[in-house]
């Protein structure tokens, strides 16, 4: 018997244990390995989900342990789906999601394409570009509130320098029309490097010989981009959209630090609204129904999207 780690482990196993294992089928051994994970999954994910579904049909409030809990059927769901304020937060979330994904993919891909060119200082630029995503969202939110400050903020002075308008004449955070864009700008600034890294991985995975063959065929750079780069990059772009979408759908800390959901409720995303319902107003049953609606929405959309992603990969 050769002296491999496997053989050493086999030798070290006590005969009684070895006999027991020898009596188990492969399937049984597989279950022994998988069971702890399944148990953990049930305890951490599935049970809370079932419990939340159960709570969503009640008037339970976590801050009133002494109050009798009543089953109220679909009333929480009905209230949420007919509440115009909830639909406004959905709109705010949709605006935030669409534009952050749009700008992050656009700018991220452009940056990846530029970084993929070989030039002097390439590594330094890559490091500088990914710096924002290394910061804590709370820190980013805080310092951007200073940048956006109408009287002393650098952002306003930058805009003033470029356009000539008075820096204190507009308020990024306090203005109803500008506030939704203020959070889009900051999130784009912070998370574009992440999209860039995914795109860069995609670009570097395209073999050089394909471009060389295209060069021999005298394909123009523009043609190479549309027929080689973009199709081969598409699965990576779609992955970036998926990650950005999931990440931004649950966006909380950055926006809370930046605008607190205001002015009014203009930037109150669903995650902020849900947190207020669940842990400030303590409407636990109502918030559970709200969370289930969001879960079904995200799960449904993500499933459709993943199917589309797989089809693109298969091509």
């Amino acid at each position: 018997m050769s002296d491999t780690p496997f053989n050493r482990a086999a030798k070290a196993t006590p005969p009684s244990v070895a006999a027991k294992i020898r009596g188990l089928s492969d399937r049984a051994i597989a279950w022994i390995f998988v069971l702890p994970t399944i148990f953990l999954l049930l305890a951490v994910n599935i049970f809370p989900l079932i419990w939340t579904i159960n709570l969503s049909f009640t008037n339970f409030r976590a801050n009133r342990p002494n109050r009798e809990v009543e089953y109220i059927g679909l009333r929480n769901y009905e209230r949420i789906l007919t509440d115009s304020d909830i639909w406004l937060t959905m709109q705010a979330t949709a605006h935030f999601l669409f534009w952050t994904i749009f700008f992050q993919v656009l700018i991220g891909f452009a940056l990846a394409w530029l970084i993929n060119r070989k030039f002097k200082g390439n590594d330094l630029w890559t490091t500088l570009i990914v710096l924002p995503m290394m910061l804590s969202p709370a820190v980013v939110g805080n310092f951007w509130t200073f940048l956006y400050q109408p009287q002393i903020g650098l952002f306003n002075y930058g805009i003033s320098f470029l356009t000539g308008i008075d820096p204190s004449s507009f308020q990024m955070i306090g203005d109803v029309t500008l506030a939704p864009w203020s959070i889009v700008i900051v999130d784009t600034w912070m998370w574009t490097p992440f999209v860039m890294l995914i795109c860069l991985a995609g670009l570097r995975s395209i073999p050089d010989y394909i471009y060389e063959a295209a060069e021999i065929d005298r394909a123009s750079k523009w043609r190479q981009f549309w027929t080689i780069t973009l199709p081969m990059e598409l699965p990576f772009l779609m992955l970036a959209v998926l990650f950005s979408g999931i990440e931004n759908f649950k966006m909380y800390d950055l926006v809370v630090q930046l605008t607190g959901g205001g002015p009014g409720s203009i930037t109150e995303l669903t995650s902020i609204n849900l947190k207020r319902e669940a842990f400030e107003k303590w409407r636990t049953g109502y918030a559970s129904a709200y969370a289930i609606i969001l879960f079904v929405t995200v799960f449904g959309l993500a499933s459709i999207y993943v199917k589309a992603l797989n089809k693109v990969k298969e091509r």
Binding site: N63, I173, G174, V256
Partner: protein, 439 residues
């Protein structure tokens, strides 16, 4: 034998003398907001530590997170706090959900009389249901929303002259809300000492309680009230009365025409910053900050003046302040009650005021020298005579967040009219009271 017995008895007495304080000594944790008066309380509590042998630990949370943090602590039955100086609006929830220890028997046993504290503070900070003799806190820190202004700017001859020529009267601290608006607008974007200044710093914060506390300071004097009949939850005609609408419109005008740019989410800290940095001529804030403001080397002393929230149809100020309660989940309730007994003493209350805390004890407030003891003391007395508070119901957080949203939507975000904002507020509150089984 006799000697042996004597020795044994002596040893026992000696041992009990040495051990007793150690056996009873506890480490008490007092929870409160992180602000100036909390520092004064730390100083004051040293005397309690010396007298009782207990040690005091403090957990101070910044105001914007205070309610969130402490209500979570109470709702989860946490043992972090033995004593809690909780906001006045928490008293309903504290009592009904069993978070606070009822203090009636303790007060009776120790001879602590609620008649020794200002009636408005007992009503607001201690009782639940409101006005009944069921006490869940001892009034600890009287407070109301007041105003301070740049006295040195008000006294400048060129400023006085300009104001008189514009308004036909002398520039002086305002007596009405309308005068307040006029003065704030007068200072808005006015150049003083070579710099552009603004009218007033007011509360517009969205996340916790800021804009509600600020706007009600205008709405109460102009005629806003919560119910037509106290205790009946009949809000129609009270919350959305023409006077309430006018009050809210007034606050929006004050915000739009007389505040510095960018103050869309400002509360206590931002108000203090705006004043101390010389941006504004006037600022609203809680009386609790006034001792610190007066002591400020740059903008305090002769440069600062104070005035009570101006009246309009009536004199009224938004109530702040807190009572001190014993947390029901504490394992050290006996020691916590000892602290309350010590704190209720007139001599301690007098020191509390001297250190910068606002005592609610009548022996302090009725002292003839009180009104002259600080430049804001007489205004504090005036304010406490006309304080009005938000709902103190167990569902207070839900009621407050609804008002925060409706007011911020209207005042800062320009959504809809004041009438619509207050009508929607009634809808929100009706839903809450229906859930609570009160309507």
């Amino acid at each position: 034998m006799k000697t042996a017995k004597l020795l044994a008895a002596t040893a026992l007495v000696a041992a009990s003398g040495v051990l007793a304080p150690q056996a009873q000594a506890d480490e008490l944790t007092l929870c409160w907001a992180a602000w100036d008066p909390a520092n004064a309380l730390v100083e004051l509590s040293k005397e309690f530590e010396a007298q009782s042998g207990h040690t005091m630990k403090f957990e101070f949370v910044p105001w914007p997170n205070f309610a969130d943090r402490m209500l979570n602590e109470l709702n989860s039955g946490g043992k972090l706090c033995d004593l809690l100086i909780g906001d006045s609006q928490w008293i309903g929830g504290g009592a009904e959900n069993g978070h606070y220890v009822k203090l009636n028997d303790f007060f009776d046993k120790e001879g602590i009389s609620m008649d020794d504290f200002a009636p408005a503070t007992v009503y607001a900070y201690s009782t639940w249901p409101k006005g009944t003799p069921n006490y869940y806190a001892l009034p600890a820190m009287g407070d109301a929303n007041g105003w301070f202004y740049r006295k040195d700017w008000f006294e400048k001859p060129e400023i006085q002259e300009a104001f008189k020529s514009e308004h036909g009267r002398d520039l002086a601290p305002p007596k009405t809300q309308m005068e307040l608006l006029e003065i704030a607008q007068f200072f808005q974007e006015r150049e003083i000492d070579g710099q552009k200044r603004y009218g007033a710093a007011i509360f517009t914060e969205r996340g916790s309680e800021g804009i509600t506390m600020g706007a009600t300071s205008s709405m109460y004097p102009i005629g806003f009230k919560y119910e037509m009949t106290p205790g009946k939850y009949d809000m129609e005609g009270a919350v959305n009365s023409p006077e309430a609408v006018a009050g809210l419109e007034f606050y929006k005008e004050l915000y739009k025409t007389a505040t510095p740019p960018g103050y869309t989410d400002s509360y206590m800290e931002q108000s203090l910053d705006a004043f101390k940095s010389g941006q504004v001529a006037m600022a609203m804030n809680w009386f609790a900050f006034f001792p610190g403001l007066y002591a400020d080397p740059d903008t305090g002393g002769d440069k600062i003046g104070f005035f009570v929230n101006p009246g309009q149809a009536k004199e009224a100020s938004t109530l702040g302040g807190q009572g001190i309660s014993v947390v029901a989940y504490s394992d050290k309730q006996e020691a916590a009650l000892e602290y309350i007994k010590w704190f209720a003493q007139p001599s301690v209350q007098s020191k509390w005021w001297d250190l910068g805390g606002y005592s609610c004890h009548v022996s302090v407030l009725n002292d003839p020298s009180f009104a002259d003891s600080a430049p804001f003391a007489s205004d504090f007395l005036l304010a406490m005579d006309g304080v009005m508070d938000f709902w103190q119901e167990p569902a207070y957080a839900e009621l407050l967040l609804a008002m925060q949203k409706r007011l911020h939507d209207y005042v800062v975000a320009d959504q809809g009219t004041a009438q619509e904002a207050l009508d929607k507020l009634i809808e929100d509150w009706t839903e809450t009271f229906e859930d609570e089984g009160k309507l």
